[in-house]
Homo-oligomer: 393 residues x 2
């Protein structure tokens, strides 16, 4: 029996396995059924944590990794990794805000969110300017900050002043006292640069669907802080827009990474689906060409998955290449199966039977390999029989 | 796209869904993906509860159902259902001991196991003799008794006496006092009959792997009763063998249904795999001919499944017909996946993610439909592509 060519393009299972580990577990399972299966590993990401690793892993010899020490969200120094693809004028810097202000940094999370800022992101960009880089892909997602991107803009030369003309810190607490924004000192290299923002968040900067209301609470913004922080960011955004002559607060994605999506778009950044950019950077379409089956996945799948999350982008690219895509996630919301069924050739969790969430997370690697093996048996059973048509759901 | 022909041949999910309900749930799921799929419903059984229903459901117009009131295990009257297939000399009576002495009968279970017996099974057979029937298929399994089949033999004319020549009851308590067995009064119609025993139990009558040691505890035999009851049954068996000139205690299946497997073999019954007999009676091989996929399942699958349980028999018959069989059970033991993989084209539980056993049982119907739908999407994805060979695992 000939063996299929299978593309493995999962996102990470957040809190459990990174995307390369998910690929390895899937491959382990598949090889139980097809020892000589042809596997193309394409660990995915969505602009958040893991984006840099995914892009560098797929770059072959074209990518290098380095780090710069900058201020973390809470003020302590962090070694922020970044990548460079290509050389000289064609060089592209790949950044990930989760490398600078990660929500997984316990030290930063001990500082109140009112005092956290993104100045480290601006410091990193400035350093890369100094090294001659002018093209940037910046992954948003996984940030601990809610400063509207004020910290980054401040580190790039924007001055934030109170009513007495004194500087205010670029934090939610500082923005409450903000009276004047002076954009005259913004680094002129911004205007000469190309910035692509990678995000899976379409939210605007402020309001009911804004950064503070939707993503603030998971960063520690309390119920009675939401309105205050949101108003402070709205005030900052209005002043910054007036000072620069730009408009960005109402654009989709302005609310990504606590408002970094606003600040980066204000200085010319182009907003794109993080997973789509990653798919391009890792050459997913090339991997799918001529493949027979794709498997993707994520920690938990539900209706949100269809809002440009990595598995959805994989399914779309695969459909264009006429490759069926099966979804294998830590868990799948049963209520979303019908909607997922329009895009995926089957959606599966990894639970083998009654099991607790903790056991499911702890055993994810083995359970995932098991699930892949059993699905391979089903695929093989149908695959081995004479073809009866050419469509798949 | 053409649609596959799919055979649905599950056992019941004990404690949750009977086999026809499992078929319905599977079909509901499959039709989400293939509205016009061709389904052949073959609800299975293994000789235990559900066997009579499965056989009658598959019999079309050939089968009739009736009932006779006999003594239940605890002495109270029970209406014991039975079936008759065919007519006149070709008529076959289909019996199920779970119709007479079911472990699911709360009234009988309130009587101590030491006082329970199987005389109702003998009464039922005698009544059917009176009605002219001489061919019997008797499903063992799901019994509440541990009397070595003494009750059934007593009802058919065997006399059990103590040392003083007084009758003893055919119960574990009575057998403790048994001194003499007189087989002279055994119904002569037994010798003129054909009896096929359907069971999924290979155990001998006595000893470490015997009826009392292995199946006694779930019927209420206490730890300190095991040796005593086992000795009483061994004594009875030796006397009964001597009285009849037969040998049956050490045969495989003698330990089925608390020793009814012994008693029925002693009077000429032929022991067979219950699931295999049911497969024959319901015409499983005909249903599999020309089918593209079979789905089977049971409440819980593990290494025991491969000991002639219904799903295993389905997989064997399907393999002979070159039809791949996928296993969908309430839960699947992860440690048994490798062994199951030699026989099944994929083995799956129905848990959608972290879930309790109670929720899994309560939601079994919907979860099963979901699992069938998602597996159908995988099958369809591979099915739709050009065939590359002809084997399946």
């Amino acid at each position: 029996m000939s063996v299929p060519v299978i593309v493995l393009a999962p996102d990470s299972f957040k809190g459990s396995l990174d995307a390369p580990a998910v690929c390895t577990a899937l491959e382990t399972g598949l090889r139980r059924v097809w020892p000589d299966v042809l596997v193309r590993r394409c660990p995915m990401a969505d602009g958040g944590e893991g984006t840099l690793d995914a892009v560098l892993a797929a770059s072959g010899g074209r990518g290098t990794r380095a780090a710069v020490t900058v201020h973390g969200a809470g003020g302590a120094p962090v070694a922020a990794g970044y990548g460079v693809l290509g050389h000289a004028d064609a060089a592209v810097a790949v950044l990930e805000v989760a490398q600078v202000v990660p929500i997984t940094d316990p030290a930063a999370m001990r500082v109140a969110v009112a005092e956290r800022d993104t100045r480290g992101v601006g410091e990193l960009i400035r350093t890369l300017f100094d090294r001659g880089l002018r093209r940037f892909m910046i992954g948003l997602g996984g940030s601990s900050t809610n400063d509207g991107g004020a910290g980054m803009l401040a580190a790039l030369g924007m001055r934030l002043l109170d009513a007495a003309g004194q500087p205010v810190p670029p934090t939610p607490a500082g923005l409450a006292r903000l009276a004047t924004v002076d954009a005259g000192g913004l680094d002129p290299r911004l205007a000469a640069s190309s910035i692509t923002i990678m995000s899976d968040v379409n939210n605007p900067l402020c309001g009911e669907r804004g950064a503070t209301a939707i993503f603030g609470p998971q960063k520690g913004v309390t119920a009675d802080e939401v309105a205050r922080f949101d108003a402070g960011i709205a005030n900052f955004a209005g002043l910054a827009e007036a000072a620069t002559g730009g408009r960005a607060a109402s654009r989709p994605g302005a609310g990504a990474a606590g408002g970094l999506g606003f600040a980066l778009q204000l200085v010319g950044g182009e907003f794109r689906s993080g997973a789509a950019v990653v798919a391009d950077l890792i050459g997913l379409d090339r991997a799918l060409a001529g493949a027979d089956w794709a498997i993707t996945g994520e920690g938990r799948s539900d209706a949100q998955t269809l809002l440009a999350k990595a598995p959805f982008v994989v399914a779309q690219r695969a459909r264009a290449a006429r490759v069926p895509t099966t979804l294998v996630s830590g868990a799948v919301d049963p209520a979303s199966l019908a909607a997922l069924g329009d895009h995926f050739a089957g959606a599966f969790g990894i639970a083998p039977g009654p099991i607790t969430l903790a056991d499911c997370i702890a055993g994810a690697e083995a359970l995932l390999a098991d699930r892949a093996a059993e699905l391979a048996r089903v695929f093989a059973a149908a695959w081995a029989r004479p073809g009866r048509g050419s469509d798949f759901p």
